[in-house]
Symmetry: C2
Subunit: 242 residues, 2 copies
Amino acid sequence: MAIVPLYRRDARHPQAQACAACEVRGSALFGALDDAGLDHIHTHIASVEITPDQPVYARGEAGAAVFTVRAGIVRFERSSPHGDRRIVRLAGRGDLIGQEALLQRPYADEAIACTPVQLCRIPRHLVDQLATAQGSLPRELMLRWQVALDASEAWVAELSSGPAHRRLLHLLLRLARLGEPGGPVWLPRREEIGAMLDLTVETASRLVSRLRREGVIELLPPRAARIDLAALERALNSEGTG
Amino acid sequence: MAIVPLYRRDARHPQAQACAACEVRGSALFGALDDAGLDHIHTHIASVEITPDQPVYARGEAGAAVFTVRAGIVRFERSSPHGDRRIVRLAGRGDLIGQEALLQRPYADEAIACTPVQLCRIPRHLVDQLATAQGSLPRELMLRWQVALDASEAWVAELSSGPAHRRLLHLLLRLARLGEPGGPVWLPRREEIGAMLDLTVETASRLVSRLRREGVIELLPPRAARIDLAALERALNSEGTG
DNA sequence: CGAGCCGTTGAGGGGATTCAAGCTCAGTGG
DNA sequence: CCACTGAGCTTGAATCCCCTCAACGGCTCG
């Protein structure tokens, strides 16, 4: 974990004005804060960069901080005592992760970077301060919690239900939304697709190959792809009726 | 929906002192409130009773209230545009449901009573009042949100992963925890089991019958069963190694 | 008593897994 | 430079789990 403190006003610092200029400010946790508020907090928030497949935090760890995702994709994993692991959710730009820490609770999942990830690390006590001083923060927090809950329930409904082919289509739809609109999307390894959709690597591979032949996706190795959204929609619709 | 206002001090009222005497007070949303606080809110909270298979609220509805579950089991459903429906989570005694309403958002799921359910209906504005007046409430709220998020992620990991036999064992384990310890548990209809585990009725029936033959559960029709927790544990363990 | 819902069981088929082999590609060291 | 290696991906063949289609019995209720 590369941790760099943020000094908003020191223009010589590479992370100068990072909070104020943060591209996700409008949708991030402190989006509603004015400059005075930023002055108060900016010295406590650190910018964190994580390389793919490195953990942000581990399940059971007594966390002292929450994170906002500034860029990249984070996955949440749980594994059974028997060893099989399952990816239960993804988070992307603007999402708040590790909220359990605010309740002095251990982290509930393994959080691992899928792509290069940029995070803002926010100490627990800092949120506590703002929660008492300001009125708007709790509401922002609850919003994040609800977003996470909604994402998790949608994961059950879309990525854990029905035939494998449809589950993969839904996954691609999500990946497309997580990336730049129209741009190439991050494509997980086959083993990761399997962990997301509860499939074996072989089945994941077969299905991806099939979509490639059908023209729904164009592979851009390694770990990227271009998605034909129109073809994807078509495939999803013909899925139900066929 | 049978709605009965709660008048805490009117001893002639059947719901008299319901808030003060509420069995789930210690673990419920207003658990931390003192009597003075109760005085303020008790006239605004209504007791709601719902019969099995009746909705608490519908997805998309602009909700003006959250609910705490005082007794019974509530299920959350989502259905795809193609018509197939999936149960994504269960809630039981002490759980807070419909929290989206606090954010002026439409309800995210269909919430439907599985068993006879008793709820406390808490208007949104009441929570807003308490949130500004008291400091402890937001924390309680966040705790509920985290409980729901955790339940949803566990649903992915346990009830949507692996072979159907193991998924059913995990479901029975949950149902046992939702009911009285040692007592009979509520057993969903086969169709409902199917919607929870993404199975057909036939497969659900076959698996239940198998567990009955193996002595893991004893059916107590209609819609109840006794579970041999030791046998269940054994079955879950031999599952992984076999 | 017949209608309808729920649960059960059987037979057959299909989709996903398992086991296995071969491929590409980047990194390594001769 | 190129064989060697290992990780990731792909494909094939056989097996198995679960689905589909179907029939039937128990039960409630009009």
